[in-house]
Assembly symmetry: C2
Homo-oligomer: 447 residues x 2
Amino acid sequence: MIKLNTNYLKGFVADHEIAYAEDGVNAAAALLDSKNGPGNDFLGWTTLPFDLTTNPEYVKEIELIKDSAKIIKKSSALLVIGIGGSYLGARAVIDLLKSPLYNNLKKDTPDIYYIGNSINPAYLNEVLSIIEDRDICINVISKSGTTTEPALAFRIIREKMIAKYGKDGVRDRIFCTTDKARGTLKKLADEEGYRTFVVPDDVGGRFSVLTAVGLLPMACAGIDIDAVIAGAQKAVEDTVLPYASNDCYKYAAVRNILYRKGKSVELMVSYDPAYAMMSEWFKQLFGESEGKDGKGLFPASVTFSTDLHSLGQFVQDGSNIMFETVIDIKTPKTDIFLENDKDNIDGLNFLTGQNMSMVNRKAFEGTVLAHTEGGVPNIIIEMDKIDEENVGYLIYFFEKACAVSGYMLGVNPFDQPGVEGYKNNMYALLGKPGYEEKRAELEKKLG
Amino acid sequence: MIKLNTNYLKGFVADHEIAYAEDGVNAAAALLDSKNGPGNDFLGWTTLPFDLTTNPEYVKEIELIKDSAKIIKKSSALLVIGIGGSYLGARAVIDLLKSPLYNNLKKDTPDIYYIGNSINPAYLNEVLSIIEDRDICINVISKSGTTTEPALAFRIIREKMIAKYGKDGVRDRIFCTTDKARGTLKKLADEEGYRTFVVPDDVGGRFSVLTAVGLLPMACAGIDIDAVIAGAQKAVEDTVLPYASNDCYKYAAVRNILYRKGKSVELMVSYDPAYAMMSEWFKQLFGESEGKDGKGLFPASVTFSTDLHSLGQFVQDGSNIMFETVIDIKTPKTDIFLENDKDNIDGLNFLTGQNMSMVNRKAFEGTVLAHTEGGVPNIIIEMDKIDEENVGYLIYFFEKACAVSGYMLGVNPFDQPGVEGYKNNMYALLGKPGYEEKRAELEKKLG
């Protein structure tokens, strides 16, 4: 389903370099398989696709997800409350499989708004004004229940819902994805009788899209989650193949080779606006997994041809610090046949008689040739089409590549110690009990 | 209105370094003022804010814009057709002053969809399905009329509009922003009797937001364009002050100093989701102006605290290749007062009795302290509030800073030779007449 095309690395990475990387990749993969590497408490995602259909607890969870989605679909809007890995995966998949314009399209599934991923009051007020007179459900996603952004949004929206539907009425409208047993959200949900879904202990946030974290919102948007899981299962099988036929391992190898050659930015490129949030998900996955100990490729993203008219100049001719990883989707979701225009004032008649997707493909081919000529290596990831199976496959492909790549880099791909810094400072500055000393110290620094 | 705060450069850039940069800045500014530098055919933007209210031709254009906006506002949706500088500025300002959720909010101005900035057929089909039964106007923005993305979208939508409204009926619905006299779009508009607006010869695409290119869509969204212009005028006055009191010059200086110290990425940061498209506009402005001759800071962007849960780890603890430029907006558009919760299950009662914006501010302060401690220099750009004047000021502030910074870097900030590469390749691969030889050569490379 997903194929790596290394043709546009010629002149940048020699075939023997890719061959030489095999031992390093195998060592990293062995660390992952043996569960002896750093972060080995968080390897639940590796077997998750098959666990979902064979482990009785997960099978039950999937049924609960489908059943809940049926209830949620009766409402006119779903608010997904979560930050980071608790919303990015679901949003990415829904944008890609449905549309970035999903909320504006005619459809028989609820609108979806993502809140609790920001502390900006204006944005939250705007969403509240949009859903004011509408029939809503919420899915609040937080392992601990105490992460500030989602907890604040949940507190505000729950109060409004209780005022509108009553304490009993909200029971069929509040769905909590949280820790199996502990935490404030689990406690509240159990006390109030809200349905709960599990964020597994051994799956970190950025690897959680194929748990209830991602699957419940997806199901509410009308996505066939069984097919997503089936695609991921296929990827599990393909990504354990020997190096020579393992495109996931090769992708991990090539990006490490380019990093060691001095590239510092990996620019994720697609030619479909619907892919933009997948790039955001990718940026968290790789940026948070590898960006530590002073190391890592900085992940950035663009949508072409749109951004060829903004960042294209830089890629072509600016600082030579990057390589591109291009998602080449072979078939668009829909097409437009270009008719002849008898006047041809715009001079575009040379395009008539073909599909618009062909023009987009030539833009892609022309750009790859131009950018490689400009000194920018291009990794191409080929994907047949945009459907559940392919997207499920792609998700697992990137997760596995990220883990292997992180071990090759010599980091723990499963922790995120750097996220605590801002959180602790923020708590201290907000006067959270227990942070008094730090508060005084920080306020002195702020002057 | 806009102030530079250099407090968080301590330990990264010494005061004497900023002082030493004065001569370089003054030389760059002199090149701009004397109109003797490279790209001096494209300096119309420098005096544009005052030209708009004093030059009779511009005064007439502003009246035409307001008059046309009144007509467009009667329809239920406006399609803005343009790519790069032909849509980014308008979209950025509308998102920031109105909302990124503008189309979903209750309002008395038309929805706005941006098309012709992509060759993806699925996206265009989706917009067409959304506006199918609605009363629409379009504003097509293209200097030449032949840029593939907008020309294709215009061709497709114009045909549909003529089928719906008739050849005469579209005259009050099609508004063309294009060259004053030449080009295929101007020719068509004159022949068909469509209203036209001018993309001035001496203002490049990425500097064109304060011409009809940006002002017409803004006016249609209900934005007070006079106030935007007034803000920009204030910036014209402030950005010619001597170096010691010129924050625009100092910003240009500091980013060049950081570049010369080895930083390769400038990360534009805001704490408001409504600012995201302003960052995209910024990325084109600086990336396309400076990214040439193998030079330039790579511009990237994030929205915090959202992306502290995705790229925050990398910024805090990953490769030390970046500095942050943070837009510190002092007052949000609206606020939310945080009430006490008698149960306090989420443990957030330490926040009650204050506004949510205060929590967002503490997130900002806590993050600046954490990231600077992590070795990432922070430039802070302070902005009082989000209104027309401030946004107009900010736009000109960045334009001027970009021009001065580009001259300091030793590039022509006003050309974009690297954008031609992909275009010519695409034309050749699409079989455009006149590109036959190149086509054969490229197809051989593609194999």
